[in-house]
Each structure stands twice: as C-alpha cells, then as structure tokens.
Amino acid sequence: MNRAPILLAAAMCAAFAGTAQAAPDADALIRAAFDNWRAKSSETEVTMTVHRPDWERSLKMKAWTKGDDDALVRFVAPAKDAGNATLKQKNETWVFNPKLNQIIKLPGSMLAQSWMGSDFSYNDLSKADDLLTLYTHKLLSSAKDGTHTVYTIEADPKPGAPVVWGKLTAKVRDDGVMMAETYFDQDMKPVRAMTTDKVNRIGGREYPAVMTMRPVGEPGKWTRIETTSGSFDVTVPSYTFTLSNLQNPRD
C-alpha cells in the first residue's frame, strides 16, 4: 500500500491537533476530523432540515463549541422554535424552553430521544466524542476523490465500552473533512448513515457544509445539517457555556 498519503495526512493532523502521534494511523485521522469540525473553539450558523415522508421543516440555529466538552446550541428561527437552546457540559445536558422559561436537566433516559424532532438524539450531541474515546480505529481502505484521498476507517468498540453499536465506519478526507459516518448494529447491519453532501470553504477551512443523516430502511426520512457560516479558533467568552447564559442569552 502506498503510505505516502497517510504520512501526509498524519502530518497535517499533527499540525491541526498538535497531539497526534507521528506514525500515520486511523486514530489521528479521526482526531483530525473532529478538530476540523470543531477546532479548539467554534461559532457556527446552521440550518437543520428535518424531512419526513409527509412533511418537512427547517430550523435555523447558532452553535458554539469549546474543546471537546462544551457546546451550546440556540435556535433562532422559525419564531415558534426560536429561543430553544441546548447546553452540554462534559456528560451533562440541559435544555431551555422559553415558553416554560425553564431549564431542564436531561435525565439519562431522555438522552437517547430525538433532538428537536430530528434524526439526531441528544446523545449525538453529548456523546459525539465516543467515536474518539470508546473505539479502536483501523484503516480499511483509501480511495481517490479528485485531488483528495478519502480514507475509510472502521471503529470497533473497545472491550467493555458502554456503546450499543456493533461498529462504526467513517470516511475521512486527507485534509480532515469527515465525509461519511455509518452506524452498524451488532449483526453488522447498517442502522443509520451520515454522509457529507457538500464541502465548502467556511471560516478559512475546508468544511463539511452539508451533512445528511438517514436512518437505514426508512426511505423518506432524513435530517440535513447545513452550515452556512462559521468561524473557528475564535475566543468564545467563558460565560457562554453556563446555565445563566442558557436561560438569559448575553450574545
């Protein structure tokens, strides 16, 4: 196998993450994808489209992240949903509903429920890091896509890791753009698949601008996440990821 692109990618990953190992490996690629996606901190504007066989609706939101642990998402449109917000700190998740003017800490039982009616669950927000921390990664294959190389990585749960999936596969481009992610059940049948439909230059980096999550076997159901603008490695005020800011936005 030609190892040059892997080395190149690993070098880029090292540049991005600063922590990646010198040897080219799947871990570094996954890490690179996360760093590309979230950087040290990020501020993005996103449109989420939830599609169902008989209806479709779009929600606009602003999202902030800092490191691996902190994230805040606030909906801004449509008016009906504006003001709803979700805050994640480490393993804890809170939601704020402006109509109730109440903050609710999500119990574990609700984390697996759908987030704002989409094909994502609260867990997808709060446990996005699982792919990094609870799985071992191995490189399956690589393929050329125009000028880029796309690596297919299989992620297997570490022994005893509290994950339900049989395995995950991820496709990561050599510049650290996550191109696809597929979740398999323990019979290794795909359960749901996320694909990157469009890569754009956002905030000075190649970014998966349009991503779609599709549950397998349920045609006509999908959720699309479209990032319209974003800036990365910006200074996010420390008050952003607080309950007070969740309830009374200061931005």
Binding site: N91, S109, P157, G160, P162, G166
Partner: protein, 407 residues
C-alpha cells in the same frame, strides 16, 4: 318423639304427591347452590393464582428495605450487608428462603431503543429459591453466580429492544456518588414470565451490580419466604427487631393489588351467596305457599282428627327440610362434579394476556375446600327451611271448620 316417627313418612309422602312442583323447587335450590359453590372454588383459585403470581415472580412473602426505598428505589436508600443477628433470623426455621438483591431503576439501551427497567443484582443460588423466573429461561442460560457479568432480560423486553442472547446492551443507572454510571452487558439469557415482569426486570450478578454502582457490599432489598403463612407476622416482628430502622413489609403491602383481589373475592362469594339465596327464597316460599293453600282442606282434616297446630307446622317444615335438603345435596354433588372435571386446572390461555391484567396466572387450579362446601350448603339448607316457616305457620293457623267447607 312418637310424633316424629309418624310425621317423617307423612312429610316425605306429601312431598311426592306433586312430583313436578317438588322437582322444580329442588332444581332452583340445586342450581343456586351449585353456582355459589362453583363460584367460590373458581374465585378462590383465581385469588390463589393471583397471590402466587405476585409472590413467586420476584416479590417473595416479605421484603426488607432501607427506609424510603419503596418511595424512591434508588441507590441512595440501601441496606448494609446482613449482620449476625439478621442472618440468625434469615437462617432460622421460620424463614424458608431468602434472597439479597441490589434493585435499582435503570435504563437499558440497544442499537434501536432505550427503555426504562429495574436492574436486579442477584445471587442466583438464593434467587432460585424465591423466584420462578430463573427456572423459566427460554434462551441462553441464567446467571451462574454473584460475579456473573452477563445480563438476563425478559423475552418481551429483548423483542422490543431488538436484541438477543449474545448481543450487547448498555445499562445506565445512578451510582452511589450521584453520577450516571454506564456499562455494557452481554445478554446471556432470556426469561419468560408475566409480561409486566418481562418488561420490567433485568438481572445480573449481585457483585457485578454492586461494583457497577459503587456501593461496596450494600444491598437494596432482602426478599424472603416463610415456611408457613401463620409464621409471617412472627417473622416480620423478628426481622424488625434484628434490623432496627429498616422497612420490613409483607407481600400484602408490597403487592396491594393481589392482596385486594384475594380479600375482594372472599367478600364477593358471600355477596353472591346472599343474592342467590334471596332468589331461591322467593322460589321456595312461593311453591310452599301454593302447596299449603292447595292443601287447606287436608290440614283442616288433620286438625279435625286431633293433630295439634304445632305438629302441622312441623310437618310442613319437615317437608321443606327434605325438599331443600335434596336440592342442596344435588347442588353440592353437581359442584363437586364440575370442579373435578378440571383435574389439570383451567387453562386461561384463551383469555391471552387479559387474565394477567387481573393478576392471575395462565392456569387456575380449582381446589375443593371442604369447609366452604359444608358451610355454604348448611347455610342454604337452614335459610331455605327458615323461609318456609311462614307458609308452615299459615297451614297451622287453618281453622278445621272453615277448612272442611273449603273446596
């Protein structure tokens, strides 16, 4: 007593002077008593089944908890491991079996679904003596010991989770330090039981559950059975003395529905008895009254021949003693025959899960309780005879002169 020897054949023969009327009245008594007795047996079987399902599934005949556990079954309310005093009671003769458990509200997650359950950490050897679930494994095997790290799910729960033996599920539960503990468990077996139990309980090794939640060797509950029902209050009191401050409850408080079902059924049989008796009473009084009115001339003749009014009354009462007595005997025999027609129990399979809703198991085992049979039969007999005292009194009041002119 000489009067009796002469009255008995007289009453017996009078009874058969109008066989059709006698048969109809006997039939009323017979069907009435048959329904009371059969219902009593059925309801008793139902309430026994409901009690058995409640106790044998997981509850046991009593349980010990920390104060507050029953209101809030979390890791915050736990029992220390049993000390010597408690062990002495549990190993004593009055307690036939016990099982120490960790039992906590939890969440189980598969690839497809997340469901609320109750996580139960057990010592399989002890659990087998209290609960029937370990013996009702439909796939895989039950836990092998308190250190078993596998998990046993109800068949229906596994179906809902779309998982099976050999696959992995994630269980989330609140740990001793307050954080949400998560752990992957491999499904080692599936059990069958009442559907509510299949959906609610998941079992793992006691020590595994203790390590998982970080509670050392603490417990959530100790379930126990007593050697006989009469010993229960004594055992409860002994346990309360052995673990001061703990919450010791019998199945009557832990399974209020089953207890209510069993007490309600006892009352119901009595109510049914009264209703049936009232209906029977009308029938008997009516026939006997008709008979007495028809025989006015006869009673007049008897009195004219020198029979005392008291003896006339006795004669009519004796008639109904025979009449109701025959009906009672036939009714009891019919009920016996009905019950013994189901020597293997009554399969409620045709009710599907409906019977479970009312708390009963799939098969009812009707048992003849001799005291019930004797009491209810005697009650019907005595009350039936009492009801005929009115027509009998009327017969004894007949004036011979008037009666002789009566056509």
């Amino acid at each position: 007593m000489g009067g009796f020897r002469f009255l008995l054949p007289l009453a017996w023969r009078s009874l058969w002077r109008n066989p059709r009327r006698t048969f109809i009245t006997m039939l009323v008594v017979c069907v009435g008593l048959w329904s009371v007795l059969t219902f009593a047996v059925l309801l008793r079987a139902w309430s026994a089944s409901s009690r058995d399902v409640a106790i044998r599934t997981i509850t046991g005949e009593g349980q010990i908890h920390a104060q507050g556990y029953l209101d809030d079954p979390t890791v915050a309310h736990r029992l220390p491991p049993p000390d010597a005093g408690l062990m002495a009671v549990l190993n004593g003769g009055a307690v036939s079996a016990y099982s120490a458990r960790v039992r906590l509200s939890a969440i189980v997650q598969s690839e497809y679904k997340t469901l609320p359950v109750t996580l139960v950490g057990v010592q399989p050897a002890h659990e087998r003596q209290i609960s029937v679930l370990p013996a009702q494994i439909t796939a895989g095997h039950y836990l092998s010991g308190p250190d078993d790290v596998g998990i046993v799910l109800g068949s229906n729960l596994a179906r809902r989770l779309k998982t099976r033996v050999g696959k992995r599920v994630v269980v989330m539960v609140q740990a001793a330090d307050g954080h949400l503990a998560e752990r992957a468990f491999q499904v080692v077996g599936l059990f069958a039981g009442p559907r509510t139990a299949e959906d609610e309980f998941v079992f793992t090794g006691l020590k595994t559950a203790q390590r998982f939640t970080g509670i050392g060797s603490d417990l959530s509950e100790i379930a126990f059975d007593v050697s006989n029902d009469a010993a229960l209050p004594g055992v409860l009191a002994a346990l309360e003395r052995a673990v001061p401050g703990a919450d010791v409850q019998s199945w009557k408080t832990l399974e209020p529905l089953s207890y209510a079902v069993s007490t309600f059924f006892d009352q119901f049989v009595l109510m049914w008895l009264w209703i049936i008796f009232l209906l029977m009473g009308f029938g008997i009084v009516n026939t006997q009254l008709m008979a007495v009115l028809e025989r006015t001339r006869e009673f007049g003749l008897l009195q004219a021949l020198g029979m005392r009014p008291r003896l006339v009354l006795l004669e009519v009462a004796l008639e109904s003693v025979f009449l109701v007595g025959l009906g009672v005997a036939l009714g009891a025999a019919a009920a016996l025959a009905t019950v013994s027609a189901f020597p293997k129990g009554i399969d409620l399979g045709f009710l599907a899960r409906g019977a479970e809703l009312a708390g009963a198991g799939h098969i009812l085992y009707p048992v003849i309780v001799p005291s019930d049979f004797v009491t209810y039969s005697l009650m019907v007999w005595v009350l039936g005879v009492l009801a005929t005292l009115w027509p009998a009194r009327r017969a004894s009041k007949v004036s011979p002169v008037e009666a002789m002119s009566h056509i």
